[in-house]
């Protein structure tokens, strides 16, 4: 077991007081960054990068990767408490996390989210430890058709049969439309900017989400006169243990989401895609699938586990191939080069100490991260006790700052207000918002992959079945799409038969 030996050396390296201190600092910073919308993992890491130039590279990357773990953990906090996703990958967490908080179960939801995250990360680190070379080879198999197939699978696994299929379709198409605004990466042409240079950069996902979910939610709760109360959560440490007792029964969801997450992290589908797919598939296959969205613990665990597994696994292609699996990984990659390390296939050979020190730190810092975030659960649950007239304006202020800081553009704050109103209207009219968000995140990427594939095949659709890998993903995706129809037909057929038999 060459890996184990190297790993123990890595532990020896990571377990210095200095490095543990860096870990704690990194995680706490990451939590702060993750909680504030607009300050994302990439910003946080990029801002702190220059500070690390004088540190030993291993300590520096331990601290920076801990910021990253911190943001991954903390993205769930505002999603659960205020329906505002602090990070893009925690949008799916709002679907069941926020209803749980409204029922006074914020503590449970947060505990489940953090624990799920931890398990996802653990699976991903184990994967990195033992299968790195193999996995790196697998990642290379992904070209444009494969990427498109993966995005298709994400869409198909998420598209359920909503209450009104037409409103579902409209919501999804609006998302695609928003994603298409700005420059088309494939042709380099501008789409739907109407000659307005402020629209060049497109409509950022985060601004739409802050508006639809954050501001929209405040308008709804205002109208309902609920004013965020009735949510005073139990604030004690017992809630953690009680929730843990319930978790083993979701073992299948945990494993499934971990696998989805690892896979999406390695093939740069990203944590956001992973969380949606994790949620969608859990909903599809759970016994309580219909109750998803009304506050199921499973609906919190599924996306969080997948997101954290994916975020962790994304470091593997960065180290082994030199390609970043996420925006934060891209900044870390820049950091590696500045410290004089060359990420890529030779890193595992030439910089053994560094690589195994980092991998060992992933185990340690995720354990440390779990302890730190769990201890903050009562603190965050207590925020819900702040009166509405104080917390509501503060939320709006933080949302405005978040919207502004994405592009340093005043217009984006106006967009946020606009999407807040749109969110309020759509929600009242029973339009589901999830499909809009999903297609906004993945729409342009899916389109680009499709068109790149078409360029390569000269317009032949057969490319999506040109090898066993892409062929099987595409087929599974299409099966997912028709699954509701099939199962409906199946049950109808069964009913007819039994009806015929009894007659």
């Amino acid at each position: 077991m060459e890996e184990l030996e190297a790993l123990f050396q890595g532990f020896a390296l990571a377990l210095s007081w200095y490095n543990i201190g860096m870990m704690a600092i990194g995680i706490v910073l990451g939590i702060v960054i993750g909680v504030l919308p607009g300050l994302g993992g990439p910003n946080g890491v990029a801002i702190l990068l220059p500070l690390t130039f004088t540190m030993p590279p291993t300590s520096a990357i331990i601290m920076l990767s801990c910021i990253y773990w911190g943001t991954l953990f903390a993205g769930a906090i505002t999603s659960v408490l205020f329906n505002i996703p602090g990070e893009t990958h925690s949008v799916a967490t709002t679907f069941d996390g926020y209803p749980l908080a409204q029922q006074g179960k914020a503590g449970e939801a947060l505990t489940a989210a953090f624990t799920g995250s931890f398990i996802g990360a653990l699976v991903a680190v184990l994967l990195i430890t033992f299968l790195a070379p193999l996995v790196a080879k697998f990642a290379l198999k992904f070209g444009p058709p494969e990427f498109f197939a993966v995005y298709l699978l994400t869409f198909c696994s998420f598209v359920g049969t909503g209450k009104d299929p037409f409103k579902n379709i409209i919501s999804m198409m609006l998302g695609f439309g928003l994603a298409a605004i700005g420059m088309d990466t494939v042709s380099g042409e501008l789409r739907m900017t109407f000659g307005w240079s402020e629209l060049l950069r497109g409509v950022d996902f985060l601004i739409v989400v802050i508006g639809l979910f954050g501001v929209g939610e405040i308008l709804i709760s205002m109208e309902e006169g609920l004013a965020f109360d009735g949510k005073s959560a139990k604030i004690n440490a017992k809630v953690v243990l009680e929730t843990w007792k319930k978790l083993p029964r979701y073992w299948l969801t945990l494993i499934r989401s971990s696998i989805i997450g690892c896979w999406m992290g390695i093939t740069p589908g990203g944590a956001t895609a992973a969380s949606f797919m994790g949620y969608g598939i859990a909903k599809r296959f759970s016994k309580d699938g219909d109750k998803f969205g009304s506050g199921m613990l499973e609906g919190v665990i599924a996306p969080e586990t997948a997101a954290h597994a994916s975020g962790t696994a994304a470091l593997l292609p960065m180290l082994a191939l030199g390609i970043p699996g996420s925006a934060t990984a891209a900044v870390l990659l820049g950091g590696l080069m500045i410290w004089g390390l060359q990420p890529g296939p030779l890193l595992f050979v030439e910089q053994k100490d560094f690589v195994w020190g980092l991998i060992a730190s992933m185990y340690l810092s995720n354990i440390a991260g779990l302890i730190i975030v769990l201890s903050t659960v009562p603190l965050f649950a207590a925020i819900l006790r702040i009166p509405f007239s104080i917390i509501a304006p503060i939320i709006i202020v933080v949302c405005a700052i978040g919207a502004y800081s994405v592009h340093s553009a005043m217009l984006d704050i106006w967009f946020m207000v606009l999407f807040g109103m749109v969110g309020y209207l759509l929600k009242k009219l029973d339009y589901p918002l999830a499909p809009l968000v999903l297609s906004l995140v993945l729409g342009d990427r899916a389109e680009a992959a499709f068109r790149q594939a078409m360029m390569g095949s000269k317009g032949a659709m057969e490319i999506f079945w040109s090898n066993s890998l892409v062929g099987s993903i595409t087929t599974v995706a299409l099966l997912m799409l028709v699954w509701p129809v099939l199962s409906f037909a199946w049950s109808k057929l069964g009913q007819l038969r039994s009806a015929g038999g009894s007659r």
Partner: protein
């Protein structure tokens, strides 16, 4: 346990660091400049985090912090929307703000032509250019091609079935591909990716047949013997003679011209201030950059990225911009990349 820790500390850059500090203390001129920033300076990078421009900006930021070359802090801001148009328009709109510095590359010429962006580099105040980035023709190391001639002949024979990957559409990589098409009669299918890193992995995974990445974008794969460099699109060979792979240095790579493929292309790496800034302010930053490129860290950085050092400022820089702009306009119109509108 301690053994490993100590080993790491010894191994890492403590020694070069102290050397660098020493070297710099000696070279740092202590004269008071006529103008100095009074607020934190924002460096606008019109490209994504982690890319070549971003890395350069952050390296410079690190050098400035380490050698205390500027009293005010420096922030690097990525404004990568619309292939960088977001950052470019932001700086254009900040007339008279001396605390905003933009990192420029050839997008300042190509973007306005490709998408009808109401922008020209004359809308900004040129500060200095510090380097030129090279482009190389790369193929997968498992492919049989050893020279650009062989490769282009095979591409021509395939009748348009060879795929060239690159960053974005109607930009540097695409321009070079069209130039290759013209010189060799090959008809590459150009596939635009989001970044050079992606194009590099796609080449290793054999989803494309070649790419024209910068040295920094392919170095990892080159050193691991996954890709092969056929030639460099430059007038002269690169000057870095230290072995990068087992048996090759950057200087061992022939130019495309000497291999019989007459295509040349290099890309500037430069800095601009918004218009309406004073001469003193330009001088301040030009001098600052001069100090930066004199540091050993910068020398190490350019060697690693195989950048061609080329410091120009003032009239010299403006003349270069004029010539470079004309060159790009010609290439863009010939390639048919000009916007229809």
């Amino acid at each position: 346990m301690m053994r490993f820790t100590r080993k790491l500390f010894n191994k890492t850059s403590l020694l070069p660091l102290s050397l660098a500090a020493f070297a710099c203390a000696a070279t740092l001129p202590m004269q008071a400049a006529a103008w100095e920033p009074t607020r934190p300076v924002e460096v606008i990078v019109p490209a994504g985090a982690g890319g070549a421009s971003d890395q350069m900006a952050r390296t410079i930021q690190g050098i400035i912090v380490k050698h205390k070359l500027m009293a005010q802090p420096m922030l690097v801001m990525n404004k990568s929307g619309a292939s960088g148009a977001e950052g470019i328009m932001d700086v254009k709109g900040s007339k008279g703000d001396p605390h905003k510095l933009m990192v420029a590359f050839s997008a300042i010429y190509t973007l306005p032509i490709a998408v009808n962006l109401p922008f020209n580099w004359r809308d900004l105040n040129p500060v200095a250019m510090i380097a030129m980035d090279e482009f190389l023709l790369w193929v997968n190391s498992e492919s049989p091609y050893k020279t650009p001639k062989e490769y282009l002949a095979a591409a021509k024979a395939s009748g348009g079935n060879f795929k060239m990957g690159g960053t974005g559409a109607k930009r540097e990589d695409h321009i070079i591909t069209v130039a290759l098409d013209k010189v060799a009669g090959a008809q590459f299918t150009y596939i635009p990716y989001k970044s050079g890193g992606e194009a590099a992995t796609q080449l290793v995974g054999k989803h494309i047949d070649s790419n024209v990445n910068n040295p920094s974008e392919n170095i990892a794969q080159w050193r691991a013997d996954q890709v092969r460099a056929l030639c460099v699109f430059s007038e002269h060979r690169m000057t870095y003679k230290d072995k990068v792979t087992k048996d090759q240095s950057w200087a061992d790579i022939p130019t495309c011209k000497e291999s019989g493929v007459d295509v040349e292309y290099q890309m500037l790496r430069a800095f601009f201030l918004p218009s309406g800034t004073s001469k003193d302010q330009v001088t301040y930053y030009a001098e600052l950059l001069k100090k930066v490129i004199a540091t050993p860290e910068w020398k190490e950085y350019v060697a690693k990225q195989a950048l061609k050092e080329d410091y120009r400022t003032g009239q010299d820089f403006v003349k270069f911009l004029e010539k470079d702009e004309a060159f790009h306009t010609k290439l863009m119109t010939e390639a048919g990349f000009a916007s229809k509108k």
